[in-house]
Symmetry: C2
Subunit: 329 residues, 2 copies
């Protein structure tokens, strides 16, 4: 029997397991042009928190009682499409379930690269593209820039660190705890800031970035954003990818250094990765080259079993993951 996670209720603040319900899914016979996929890997990502609210955003909210969506990699086990055969490994957006029935047009073959299939949910997928286009296009990072990236041990942040180093930047990453900080430095970061060590981030960043920062890649918001404003050099560029600090709290963000945008002519630009969907070829070309040159390291935090999907998701907000958080089925 196929099963799927649904949103049982909308969270107020931090979500809990009670907001999710596992339901049995009908297993319809395939219509012409459809494929049946046994999902092998599911992704959970911080942006999904936004879809749990009933507000208009760039992706529609999850509907109560309906199967949730998200990236997934799986194996075709039945096909009424001439595009796919049983045994093909594919990716699609019908995650949060163990089996998906989809028209072939909503299913993509995996890119032909030398990588594990689950990599296309992480560094070689949406989080990787987010890092690549956010850093190089939105923030226009270039050789010699000092780049500060928050949540540098996360799926996006750890890829930002490595792309920035591949491009010849000086890189400072923040992460929670000494172990994650050591890992961020092992990825090539020139310095790592432990945001859980009790030192205000504005102070830690000042010590790590004696010459200021030229680029800030924001996954966190809040104190991290304020610290970046405090230490931004003239004409610094901020790519705002996420604000995990804000998603659950509902509290206002207090910025003591916001007025620095004027004198330092800071540019703050929000973005979402799907705006760059038509430029995926650039991403695969460059990432493929860096992989061959040994410049990319991938780390995964794997939770096993469909039943654990909400746990994996909730773990994102307590920083349980090093690298990409994945569910293996």
């Amino acid at each position: 029997m196929a099963r799927a996670w649904t949103l049982a209720s909308r969270p107020n603040g931090m979500p809990t397991a009670a907001n999710f319900a596992l339901i049995d899914l009908d297993q319809p016979s395939l219509a012409e042009g459809e494929v049946r996929i046994a999902n092998r890997w599911l992704t959970v990502d911080p942006y999904m928190r936004g879809r749990m609210n009933d507000v208009k955003s760039y992706t529609p909210p999850f509907a109560i009682g309906e199967p949730m969506q998200g990236g997934a990699v799986g194996e075709v086990i039945e096909s009424r499409s001439d595009q796919f055969k049983p045994g093909n490994m594919v990716q699609h957006f019908a995650g949060w379930r163990d089996e998906a029935v989809l028209p072939a047009a909503q299913v993509q073959p995996l890119p032909k690269m030398e990588a594990d299939p689950q990599a296309y949910l992480g560094q070689l997928g949406m989080p990787g593209m987010t890092a690549y286009f956010g850093l190089l296009h939105v923030a226009a990072a270039k050789e010699g820039d000092t780049v500060f990236v928050s949540a540098a041990a996360g799926a996006v942040g750890s890829t930002v660190v490595q792309i920035a180093k591949a491009k010849g930047c000086h890189v400072i990453g923040s992460a929670g705890g000494a172990e994650k900080c050591a890992w961020v430095q092992s990825l090539g970061a020139d310095a790592a800031i432990d945001y859980k060590d009790g030192t205000p981030i504005v102070k830690s960043l000042g010590q790590a970035a004696r010459n200021g920062i030229d680029v800030y890649f924001d996954n966190v918001g809040g104190d991290h954003l304020d610290a970046a404003l405090a230490h931004a050099n003239d004409r610094a560029r901020f790519a705002i990818c996420g604000m995990i600090d804000v998603y659950n709290s509902g509290a206002a963000t207090e910025l003591r250094y916001i007025a620095r945008v004027i004198g330092a002519r800071i540019r703050i630009q929000g973005f979402i990765v799907s705006d760059f969907a038509d430029r995926a070829a650039e991403f695969y070309r460059d990432m493929g080259g860096w992989m061959k040159d040994g410049k990319l390291t991938r780390e995964e935090t794997v939770v096993e079993g469909l039943e654990k999907t909400p746990d994996a998701f909730l773990g994102l907000f307590s920083g349980d993951n090093k690298g990409k958080m994945l569910v293996k089925i």
Copy 2:
């Protein structure tokens, strides 16, 4: 006897008259290449508050006990330069005093336009250029955009309103009090928000901008900035010119809607007008055209006498001025 205002002490928070001292100035005989100018008009502007602090910024701080600086228009009364003759009207940066002795290289003739000399300290000077380049280049406002401008009854804001209307934008301005709001609408604004009427600005702006805003021209910061974030359309552009709310308070800015920069892909860009100094010709060409077409109105709040210069300056922070605040000598 020539006199000049000096900074007697640095303010902590809102400046007071006690921070200023009027001193007698030496009246040196002219060196070769110098001119002596009797100042007729002095400008006071919000940005000068930043120069009263002893912090590195885009303009150096005022020195304690030294004559302050700022824009001024005056008449040459003595010259040892072949560039200027007595009777020439000129502009320069040795304001906050009644008489200036300067090398000719630091003195500019007034532009040849049909305008009162003091206009070159306002709509046809630095505040006007700030409005022009901030609106059209930093925020890239274009025909059909809805433009929100804060402090729309000020020197910069009132010019933003008029340029935006000349460009075919829908314009919403904020100002303090019913009289100023009526004036902002008389300049062509489609709606005016009274930020002193007790309604939260986020609510007033929502009512005035049913279809959201595409451009925000910020002179104020704080609640105004947050309201603009709340109501920004996709790909809205914010030109951050000033944050008069922040200059004196030292308090953190609380932003409840900052995370909207992500989904709406908002661009927030700080700027200072001197970055556009080499493009002044564009400004004079367009402003000259709009003046001929009757599209520009100028309002001045004139304080008489050098003694009153600090009062004029302090009045900027209590909103005493409609249009450009000037000191007439």
